[in-house]
Point group: C2
Chain length 344, copies 2
Amino acid sequence: MRVTIRQVAREAGVSVATVSRVLNASGPVSAETSRRIRDVAARLRYAPNEAARALTRSRTHTIGVLLPDIYGEFFSEVIRGIDQRTRREGYHLLVSGSHDDPAEMEAALSAMRGRVDGLLLMFPDAAAQASLGDLAHDVPFVLINGAARQERASVVAMDNAGGARAVVRHLLALGHTRIATITGAPGNSDAAERLRGYREALRAARVERPAELEVAGDFTEDGGHLAMRRLLELSDRPTAVFAANDSMAIGALGAVREAGLVVPDDVAVVGFDDIPIARYVTPPLSSIRVAIDELGRLAAERLFEALEAGEDHRPTRDVLPAQLIVRGSCGATLPRAGPAHAPP
Amino acid sequence: MRVTIRQVAREAGVSVATVSRVLNASGPVSAETSRRIRDVAARLRYAPNEAARALTRSRTHTIGVLLPDIYGEFFSEVIRGIDQRTRREGYHLLVSGSHDDPAEMEAALSAMRGRVDGLLLMFPDAAAQASLGDLAHDVPFVLINGAARQERASVVAMDNAGGARAVVRHLLALGHTRIATITGAPGNSDAAERLRGYREALRAARVERPAELEVAGDFTEDGGHLAMRRLLELSDRPTAVFAANDSMAIGALGAVREAGLVVPDDVAVVGFDDIPIARYVTPPLSSIRVAIDELGRLAAERLFEALEAGEDHRPTRDVLPAQLIVRGSCGATLPRAGPAHAPP
DNA sequence: TTGTAGGCGTTATCAG
DNA sequence: CTGATAACGCCTACAA
């Protein structure tokens, strides 16, 4: 924070206005003066104070990113996508994670006032999404993975329900009729959408769906393990299971093995998310893939559009496709032991 | 950026100074006035413009984080650690990734002037570390995973060489004498340190180390696969291989299988990093674990210390321990097929 | 206990 | 082409 524009001006024998003009190419300056100023600036290692600049131009060149967490498989990929798009625009990223309750979220949001030009928000909790309302009212923002139909906000989501439907349809095509599901964390909007897709596909096929085949999970490996155990204890146990994410599916795989049964012969298992580990478990896990980084990239894209458009910008809604990745665990292909070395 | 302190003052019938005093608890204000101001501020949803605040106090309450990438297994964990420590202090994180060459780095750094109180830097490239010099000269900074002995900067690193030594000693204890290594990306300082540890341990044990047993990798799965193939083609092939990271080790596992050989019976394999997948491959991969998030956490800790100390702060140097995790791939325990469900 | 006014570092407007 | 100078929004002596 030491060398200021004033020092550069004094050293170069000009006014601060001229220095500013040269460094921002914002006005006519003689070649000679210009060169001299550049030299001095370089020698003094001058770099403008961005806080001051933000104050006068009321443009920070920074995007605020609010996520439930800023690390881990999923969020990390989202950030990657955001970063890619954002850096192309020369923007910075102010990130913030771990905001469980709305109050903490609001605090984080208000702490970003004056330091960001726009916001990228994501809350997995459906309730929080509703209370969003006018949280971010003075800068444009885009909701990532918002399930609820937001009226006033742009949303970029993934096709959770569509992915779940694809899984169930695939299992039906393989001849299964007793298809169970292990649901995600309660209150989580992704989980709710995936459950909806599961139900819709069964209903469309006129397959009955007894309540006992919907067992509650929590997105963790242990939760999936426990849930699968409950399913296997059923007198008329399911022949196929759709876990709402891969971690639970992997836990389920373990439970099946411990019960002395074989996947997919005795019970088929399919997950959701297609995390890297999915390819490596035994048997390789069938799953649903969504381009997570694209979620972030597109959200950033929409935000920049909003930034450009200004006031008269109409909310957009994008839904990213979900693709079924068939591997050994659902019985459609022969199970292959060990880590597949095949390219992704 | 709409409602300012001035509007709150007008609405509450006081001066801006009084509002500031109340909101920052920075001076005596009557209970009655205080309450009224708080009410107005809440009603107007006033939040101070942080850019302006940063300007007057020359404190941004923000830490700049410069990493080679801001996503992926490793960096994600680093950020997690940083975030944990940082949020406790009420600080924000301005992150920036993908800075390959020093020039781009310098640009990113100067763009952070006036918006951060301190910096957390990490460049895997050894050369870049050297040219660091006085890049960040006006705010305190801490180097993450800096291998070079930095004179003027605080460093938080992990014990790469120690981990590599532990691997080799373990393999020696198991009776191996032809121990190969697949090295990491050239120019990468972690890779260099791991290679150094490998050599040191062999030298200390007076085991000869022919050049053919050091084959170049690049930290990718394909690179490991290729390198292992080269090793298996040797007339006198190694009985054990230390890969400088887990991705390469997993690639190596595939190459061994394709050659019709068995891990660990024909050749033992050990990796480095202990990524989550390590537990799931067949056989489970022995590896070296370092608390990556601790790397970030500690770096943030040291930075806050420097911030507090001000000018008279002496550079620190921390080295995080590396722990050998023995699983099936090195032959010390029986290989267990399939995904282990055991807790991490 | 409260108000006035100067300053933080830049940009932008308006005269020269 | 160049130089004063008024914002930008807030904090903080200094006065009252």
